[in-house]
């Protein structure tokens, strides 16, 4: 696989917060266009930290890291928004804006990209309908249940049709039927060309889809021996 087709490329990357011991060490992994990975591991192992590095909330403190073929380690601050707009993130804690309606939360990536509302209104409505929140478009997050918030967060991550989808426990607060729908959606988006990384504890879900698995433990990334993931 050539460098240009790599979406994510870590080489011996490490992440330490403020002089503390490294949370992630010697991370080396590649994710190409249209690839799907599950990310598993115990709580506190570093799954969220790895995702944070990928969606550019933190940069590695050592090693190298490229995103969409760009040197993300040394990218200028002004170059980061364009990279972030190509990533859709479903945050574990949702991170919805409480003062905005569900519709406006989902539309946020489009607004910040300067896209006219007329151009995204249909897409946002369609997505909210798909996740079962068509009747709650004007509701604000404090009035939504945990499952509803998660679905709004999912819609927000997907609305801009990102090249890379990162999902941190995306099915943690929804019922099994909705979990299955969400995972099928990820698979469909993956088939359409989006690269996907899903961090989850749900091994049943992982096994049911038969996708490659990355296992993280104590800040170290490894191939999952039981599920045949490849690095």
């Amino acid at each position: 696989m050539g460098t240009n087709s790599l979406i994510v490329d870590f080489d011996k990357a490490g992440l330490a917060y403020g002089g503390e011991p490294e949370t992630l060490s010697d991370i080396s992994m590649q994710l190409g266009e249209g690839e799907f990975r599950f990310l598993t591991g115990p709580s506190g192992a570093g799954k969220t930290s790895l995702l944070k590095m990928i969606y550019l909330a933190h940069r590695p403190t050592r090693g190298s890291f490229s995103l969409f073929g760009e040197d993300a380690m040394n990218a200028k601050r002004a170059e980061l928004p364009a990279l972030r707009r190509r990533i859709g993130v479903v945050f574990q804690e949702f991170r919805l804006l409480d003062h905005l309606s569900a519709f406006d939360n989902v539309a946020l990536p489009m607004k910040v990209a300067g896209i006219n509302q007329n151009q995204y209104r249909e897409d946002v409505s369609e997505l909210l309908n798909w996740v079962g929140l068509g009747h709650r478009m004007t509701a604000k997050p404090p009035t939504l249940s945990g499952g509803e918030k998660q679905r709004v967060a999912l819609a927000r991550a997907l609305v801009s049709k990102p090249d890379l989808i990162l999902a941190d426990e995306p099915t943690g607060n929804v019922d099994p039927a909705m979990s299955e729908r969400i995972m099928k959606l990820f698979v469909e988006l993956n088939k359409l060309g989006a690269a996907v990384i899903v961090a989850t504890h749900d091994l049943h879900l992982v096994q049911s889809l038969g996708k490659p698995v990355l296992r993280i433990s104590d800040g170290q990334l490894s191939r999952s021996p039981s599920l045949g993931g490849n690095l």
Binding site: A78, P81, R84, G114, Q117, R121, S125, W130, G132, D175
Partner: protein
């Protein structure tokens, strides 16, 4: 599956098949909601502070304009008049010299109006200080001629001065130059002082904006972080804050302007009723250009507030995030 799950699943199915109903609701409720909540930018307290700042700025600018108007009135009055003082050893001599001087003045191009105050009238003017009849009895009071002149003559007073001295020896032509210079200097100083106050008040507006913008960013840290993560640029966030501050600034400035205009109107009424229109004080009316200039003050305050907030956000984001 629990009943809650069933409800959630059925809601999914219903909404997938019925996509139009929410759209109608949205069209009626859709509006440009600010991405940063109002409370985060200081809201009412910031509006109140900007109202006070705008009030002071309008008063300072009014002072600049009123002093300017007063100085213009005073100096133009001084520049359009000269005074001829006629001295003599006795009343007869003064009388004859004054007649000669008036003849010269009346035959001079550029002289618009000549009005004389003879020795008797001049003595009467001194009576409040010297008592009845004392000025005429003990002082050889000079006669005075007030002359209104055209601007062109003002630059050629030496010739008139020489002709007056030839016709009426001891005639002294006073062009009020020293008064004019002193008034102009005083007016310039007053204006500079008032303008300095105006600038200081604008500086206070900047300081308040910086403080409020930083506090707003700190209060909205999570929102700013999410905006960044979904791809917002620093400029986008700064523009949001700028728009917010402009609206708050506009509200506060209008309140401040109204209060200042009310205060100035009351002051104008008090001056007019208490002192009268013949006062040495300048005319003080809220009209025309004065109001237009004052209306520009809240606009300037708004732009200063919004621009300062924008620059503060850009700087803070560079430093903190």
């Amino acid at each position: 599956m629990t009943s809650a799950d069933e409800t959630e699943t059925s809601a999914v199915e219903e909404s997938v098949h019925d996509g139009t109903a929410p759209k109608r609701t949205l069209l009626t409720r859709m509006r440009a909601e600010p991405l940063l909540p109002e409370a985060g930018a200081g809201g009412a307290p910031l509006t109140a502070v900007i109202a006070v700042i705008s009030f002071l700025a309008v008063l300072a600018m009014a002072a600049v304009l009123i002093i300017n108007t007063a100085a213009s009135e005073w100096t133009s009055s001084l520049r359009s008049e000269v005074t001829v003082q006629i001295k003599g050893t006795d009343a007869v001599q003064i009388e004859s010299r004054m007649a000669a001087a008036i003849r010269v003045l009346e035959t001079t191009d550029g002289v618009l109006e000549v009005s004389s105050i003879d020795q008797e009238e001049a003595a009467e003017l001194l009576e409040p200080w010297l008592g009845d009849g004392n000025a005429a009895a003990f002082l050889n009071v000079p006669a005075i001629i007030e002359v209104k002149i055209a601007p062109a003559l003002r630059s050629d007073l030496d010739l008139l001065r020489n002709r007056l001295e030839a016709a009426a020896p001891s005639a002294v032509l006073d062009d009020h130059a020293s008064w004019h210079d002193r008034l102009a200097t005083a007016a310039r100083s007053g204006q500079a002082l008032a303008f300095a106050v105006f600038l200081i008040v604008l500086g206070a507006a900047c300081a308040i904006s910086i403080f409020a913008a930083r506090a707003g960013l700190a209060a909205n840290h999570e929102i700013v972080s999410v905006l960044h993560l979904v791809g917002a640029t620093d400029e986008f966030i700064a523009a949001e804050v700028q728009r917010r501050f402009f609206v708050l600034g506009l509200r506060g400035s209008i309140v401040g302007l109204m209060a200042a205009l009310l205060a100035l109107g009351l002051a104008a009424l008090a001056l007019r009723s208490g002192i009268g229109t013949d006062s040495f004080l300048p005319s003080f009316t809220l009209g025309g250009w004065l109001v237009l200039w004052l209306l520009s003050v809240p606009v300037v305050t708004c732009f200063v507030t919004a621009l300062t907030a924008r620059l503060t956000v850009l700087r803070t984001l560079q430093d903190q995030y």
